[in-house]
């Protein structure tokens, strides 16, 4: 096999892995959208916030210490203890649940029945808010997430495959972190699909998405369902935050991964959990291949827009995305 061909394969494999990471973020969007018709722009910031909280808790940082110091002129920073990773993850989850509950009580409860664009706007407001709170709470400097996740190319795979091509081929490069992420994603998705399809709450969640008023009228508690899905989205955000945070440190830009998830959503369909995965994979492979093959001809850095254009092309043929619910058009 020619080296070029094998490199193409390598790009595809890595694209798939990248796709899994995109899908992790997209999943959070899907959950909330499915349950409430809310397009939650804050999902990216939630990932950042979750990761920040995790690091903060692990390192025993005093929340809001910056503010306290600035206002009272004190000099406090740390509690002086360190929290083991598992416990810290649990604490962070609790924080995310609390966050879900607050969001519901203070914001979305009052917006029941509003048009989607209004809800969308509210989530952008929420994103601003949460970003500010995250910064105030934990500070805006870069933090390293030391969960001990493996990093770097897998030598096993590389050695194993090095013989496939000629001298110009060095074996497949696969990042160990990506492999972990893939495993986690599979588990998460299986769980979520089971939840949505086979539980009473899952059905209620989809009902709520269709018609808030009618859901209320049959006795579904919007509050409960929404706190539930926001908590789930918080869980997904934490996972995404950990995976991305391990890659690039925990800092502001983590919130921008939301932008990578949007084309994934479009392509997979806003309401489909499997869609998020398949969409992620297609986008991952598509953009990497395009950058690999066409990129050099047009000057590179095509990934940001290519994902969107790819999704757009798919949408022209299937306006509801690959797995999205068919848009019902009747008069």
């Amino acid at each position: 096999m020619s080296a070029d061909f094998l490199y193409g394969i390598e790009v595809i494999i890595n694209g798939l892995m990248a796709g899994v990471l995109y899908a992790l973020v997209a999943l959070g969007f899907v959950l909330i959208f499915k349950a409430s018709g809310i397009f939650n722009y804050a999902q990216g910031v939630m990932a950042l916030f979750a990761a920040l909280t995790l690091v903060g808790v692990m390192e025993g940082q005093v929340p809001f210490s910056h503010v306290i110091n600035a206002v009272f002129g004190t000099e406090i920073h740390h509690f002086g203890w360190e929290v083991p990773a598992l416990l810290a993850i649990f604490v962070t989850l609790m924080v995310m649940v609390l966050f879900a509950w607050l969001v519901q009580q203070l914001v979305f409860r009052h917006l029941v029945g509003q048009e989607p664009i209004i809800l969308f706007m509210a989530t952008i407001g929420l994103a601003y808010f949460l970003e500010g709170v995250g910064d105030l709470m934990w500070g805006s400097e870069i933090k390293t997430l030391a969960l001990g996740l493996p990093q770097g190319g897998s030598l096993v795979v590389e050695d194993w495959t090095a013989g496939l091509g000629g001298d110009d081929f060095y074996g497949f490069f696969i990042d160990k972190l990506d492999m972990v992420a893939t495993l986690v994603a599979i588990v998460l998705v299986a769980g979520l699909i089971g939840f949505a399809q086979y539980t009473k709450q899952g059905r209620a969640m989809r009902a709520v998405a269709d018609d808030h008023q009618a859901a209320l009228s049959v006795g579904i508690s919007l509050n409960f369902i929404w706190v539930l899905v926001w908590s789930l989205a918080g869980l997904v955000a934490l996972v995404a935050g950990v995976m991305w945070g391990a890659k690039s440190g925990v800092q502001f830009s983590l919130s921008l991964i939301a932008l990578k998830a949007l084309p994934v959503l479009m392509l997979g369909g806003f309401t489909s959990i499997p869609g998020a995965i398949v969409g992620g994979l297609i986008i991952g492979v598509g953009e990497k291949l395009f950058e690999y093959m066409i990129g050099p001809m047009v000057g590179g850095a095509t990934e940001n827009w290519f994902a969107y254009v790819l999704a757009l092309i798919f949408l022209v043929f299937r306006p509801q995305g690959l797995f999205g619910e068919k848009i019902i058009e009747r008069v």
Partner: protein, 406 residues
């Protein structure tokens, strides 16, 4: 008061770098105030204004602070620099873009109020190539160098220089762009892995830096052949990759570490007095030192201006004149408590950019510190100056400026 506005960014995507720089900039002036009673007896004030590395906010900050009698601006962003260059010409306030901004502003005949001493990006590109030349006994014939860069004004700045140098030294140049913010660089690094360039020059800022270092480690790229510009060589960039980052290089134009007398003074007069600009945890970091260095250069010029005019309360115009005749000597640095911190250099009307001396720093992951591994050495003036001349003259023609020195 002597007003040195600090257009800082402590939020947003580049906060990590902005915080350290702004802390250093502010702390140095605080030190002068606390220890020496200001500059020439006049207190310095450093009003901070948050730009978030955003051009619009930068302009707003500039407009908001310029009426307070600002002496010099240090916006710490190439994009903001471009907004301010025409404005400072009109307002008569000097602009100092230390190691960034518009390279051709080095030509003071055209850019009367803009200064970019002691080095600029084109010097940086050339210095990087010079370093690689050194490693190869003066010849890069047939070698492959890749420029990995931020896809924007800043990252594209070195390309013309590198193209000229590639022609001159016979190496093959490829450029790979990374889009903002650069958290995902998989395809770029797969491409690098495939092409195996001999050297990588890297123009990055923000999260892009650490991801690049991490990815380089992931694909097992030899770190000592991977060199960043001075904005891609701080602790933030290498710490996340841990031991794998050992040996990564970056250019520098001043010393690293906190082994200078000034830091003791900062500890006593600033930090212990509770007057530190930030949390006090950045002191001695690369970017903190850079902020401090920028403040030092500004303070020197201000002192020169006071001396030259005999007026303690100087104006922006006096400041500009002093910057134009700035001379940084070993003694100046010694006096300021930073002996040998940077190269000695001088500024003239024809040359607003200093002598273009740079050095190479390397990261030691076990000691967790950056240190310079070379002296300050010059860039390829022949190539760089020709490019500067062409670019600045084009600008002059476009804007009806007659280059002159008075």
């Amino acid at each position: 008061d002597l007003v040195f506005p600090s257009l800082s960014y402590r939020t947003g995507p580049f906060a990590a770098g902005g915080i350290a720089f702004a802390d250093g900039y502010a702390d140095y002036f605080t030190l002068l105030n606390e220890r020496d009673g200001g500059i020439g007896g006049v207190m310095a004030s450093v009003p901070e204004c948050e730009t978030a590395y955003n051009a619009e906010k930068g302009v707003e900050c500039y407009e908001a602070t310029k009426a307070e009698g600002a002496l010099v601006y240090q916006p710490l962003a190439t994009s903001i620099t471009y907004q301010l260059i025409p404005k400072v010409e009109v307002d008569g306030i000097p602009l100092h873009t230390m190691g960034y901004g518009r390279t051709s502003a080095k030509n003071g005949e055209v850019f009367r109020h803009t200064f970019n001493y002691p080095v600029n990006y084109w010097d940086g590109a050339s210095a990087g190539v010079n370093h690689f030349l050194d490693l190869n006994d003066g010849s890069l014939e047939g070698r492959k160098i890749t420029l990995l860069h931020f896809n924007g004004a800043y990252g594209k700045e070195p390309i013309p220089t590198l193209e000229a140098l590639a022609e001159k030294h016979g190496f093959e140049l490829t450029t790979i762009a990374i889009d903002y913010p650069g958290q995902e660089q998989k395809s770029q690094w797969l491409q690098i892995r495939r092409e195996r360039p001999d050297y990588i020059l890297f123009w990055g800022w923000g999260v892009m830096n650490q991801v690049a270092v991490q990815e380089a480690a992931n694909i097992g790229y030899p770190m000592e052949n991977f060199m960043g510009i001075w904005w891609s060589g701080s602790e933030n960039d290498v710490l996340p990759a841990g031991a794998a980052a050992d040996g990564y290089k970056a250019l520098a134009f001043h010393e690293m570490g906190s082994d200078f007398p000034v830091f003791d003074d900062i500890q006593t007069y600033v930090v212990d007095a509770g007057k530190a600009a930030g949390a006090g945890d950045q002191i001695g970091s690369v970017l903190y030192n850079r902020g401090l260095y920028a403040a030092f250069l500004a303070a020197e010029a201000a002192a020169d201006a006071q001396e030259a005019t005999g007026e303690p309360e100087i104006t922006a115009a006096m400041m500009r004149d002093a910057m134009e005749s700035l001379e940084i000597t070993a003694q100046d640095m010694e006096d300021a408590g930073i002996p040998g911190f940077g190269p000695v250099f001088s500024v003239t009307c024809q040359n607003h950019g200093g002598d273009g001396l740079a050095s190479v720093a390397q990261w030691d992951a076990t000691a967790q510190e950056w240190s310079l591994i070379s002296d300050f050495f010059p860039s390829d003036g022949e190539v760089v100056n020709a490019l500067i001349k062409a670019d600045s003259e084009a600008f002059a023609a476009e804007n009806d400026i007659t280059p002159s020195c008075d």
